[in-house]
Amino acid sequence: MEEHLKNSVTDGQEEYVLNIGPQHPSTHGVLRLVASLRGEIVTNIEPHIGYIHRGIEKMCESLTYPQIIHLTDRMDYLSAHINNEAVCLNVEKALEIDIPDRIKVIRTIMAELTRIQSHQLFWATFGMDLGGLTCFFYGLRDREKVLDIFEETCGGRMIVSYNCPGGLMHDIHPGFQKRVKEFIEYFRKTLPEYDQLLTGNVIFRERTMGIGKLTLGEAIAHGITGPTARASGFSCDVRKKEPYSAYDRIKFNEVLFTEGDTYHRYLVRMDEMRQSMDIIEQLIDNIPEGPYAVKMKPIIRLPEGEYYQRVETARGELGVYIISDGNKNPYRVKFRSPNFVNLSVLNMLSKGFKIADLIAISGSLDLIIPDIDR
């Protein structure tokens, strides 16, 4: 880095401040980054957030528990189903309700489908950030097939609102199992295409390997979770550590790498798509019979106390913390969102790299801005 500084045009003497965002195609939303540069080298990144702060946590205090579901959808909209699951599991834990196996299995299958479509979109936009527009078309072509399955069963394409406290909104579509199997058969064939297009590409590897290294210690110190942390060797998969829904009865290995650079953050997500397909295949043939929802009281009141539940979304660990005073509305709701925490390492990772690498690094963190601001 020191050599770079010496050779740059300004000899590292002057600092140039560049404003990126809030309207910028490669910040994936309305994140604003104020970048200090010396020549082309990044010396400091200051993220400004709040351009999409909608006050969801405060709104939750005046809504009932089934109503909260529709707001959590819109936080991290690419893992909408998993966000709902977190709230539902928390409410069910507080009320000490036993959930039938059928619901657990369906929830798990839907969550893994959600993870696949989220990673597909990551692949599409990450390729586009690095200048490969073809990725965008391939990724979204396959993503539509998952959305079709969602639409058939849930009625919504992206924002599904399929979970509700005590079960599911309605039963799965009769053709659900067939459609999911068809999709997996199709996607197993097309996933190698993704690798051919991007993973083995020389330009792509040059631009990502060794860029933005995150060590294991730094990942733990900053509280990084999800694929970003697993690329650095931090074993933090909530599905494995604290199994919820049907994850305790399936066999899968956490995807772990130790390098922690942009390339390996990308690889974790590619491998997780394969892993999600394995998980779905284990469950899809034996969905148990039973009711799709437990009968709940028309007005849900949680007993007084504090409740916490965490789940693994496509981007990391989402925690839902509810304080109840015995009313039908929560007293306080706090979401521990993975994106907000993952954003905190952006400055550290991109220091000393070129401005073009900043785009690659922020793309590999896979940030969803409404989840940061809530």
Binding site: H24, I52, H53, K58, R74, R141, R143, E144, I159, P370
Partner: protein
């Protein structure tokens, strides 16, 4: 559906009635034909609707069939701004500046419930702008939360029909009203 048969919108009829003479009309037709078939949207997405906007540009729905394929990252080069997602108080001045930076003729499509009225954040939220028309003038509203790509396509086709009915006089009136609003 032909333009003449399209009568389910009162404001379009009003626009049509304020027309000019035959010579000007044929010039208008040529200009409008060119404009409506090369609408370049700005890449402006704040939340979930942005993903559906991307899906509209993707292979299955393919925006490009109607001349809208070129998403422009700079407002100087864009013709239409699709407000995809919630606008909060902190974002509103930014949106206004983006709109002012666009060159005439410029159009606005409010996509999704949040941009129309605040949507799910209409009640109880302290920071959401209750409808994007408080900030910039809107041409077409596309309801949904988020709207399906087909709905956005239909909205964009409505905008094309609206452009078809424009005349030199109505264009002048339109840009005058915009600059008036700006000075306020």
């Amino acid at each position: 559906m032909r333009n003449e048969d399209f009568k389910d919108n009162e404001s379009l009829d009003l626009l049509r009635e304020s027309g000019a003479n035959i010579l000007l009309t044929s010039i208008d037709d040529v200009i409008n034909w060119g404009r409506k078939n090369s609408l370049w949207p700005l890449t402006f997405a704040t939340s979930c609707c942005g993903i559906e906007m991307m899906a509209t540009g993707a292979p299955r729905h393919d925006f490009a069939r109607f001349g809208m394929e070129v998403y422009r990252a700079s407002p100087r080069q864009a013709d239409v701004i699709v407000v995809a997602g919630t606008i909060v108080n902190k974002m509103a001045p930014v949106l206004r500046r983006l709109y002012d930076q666009m060159s005439e003729p410029k159009y606005v499509v409010a996509m999704g419930a949040c941009a129309i009225s605040g949507g799910p954040f209409f009640l109880n939220s302290y920071s959401v702008v209750k409808g994007v028309e408080h900030v910039i003038p809107v041409d077409v509203y596309v309801p949904g939360c988020p709207p399906r790509p087909e709905a956005l396509l239909y909205g964009m086709l409505q905008l094309q029909r609206k452009i078809e009915t424009e005349t030199i006089r109505s264009r002048k009136k339109r840009s005058a009203s915009h600059s008036e609003k700006k000075s306020q």
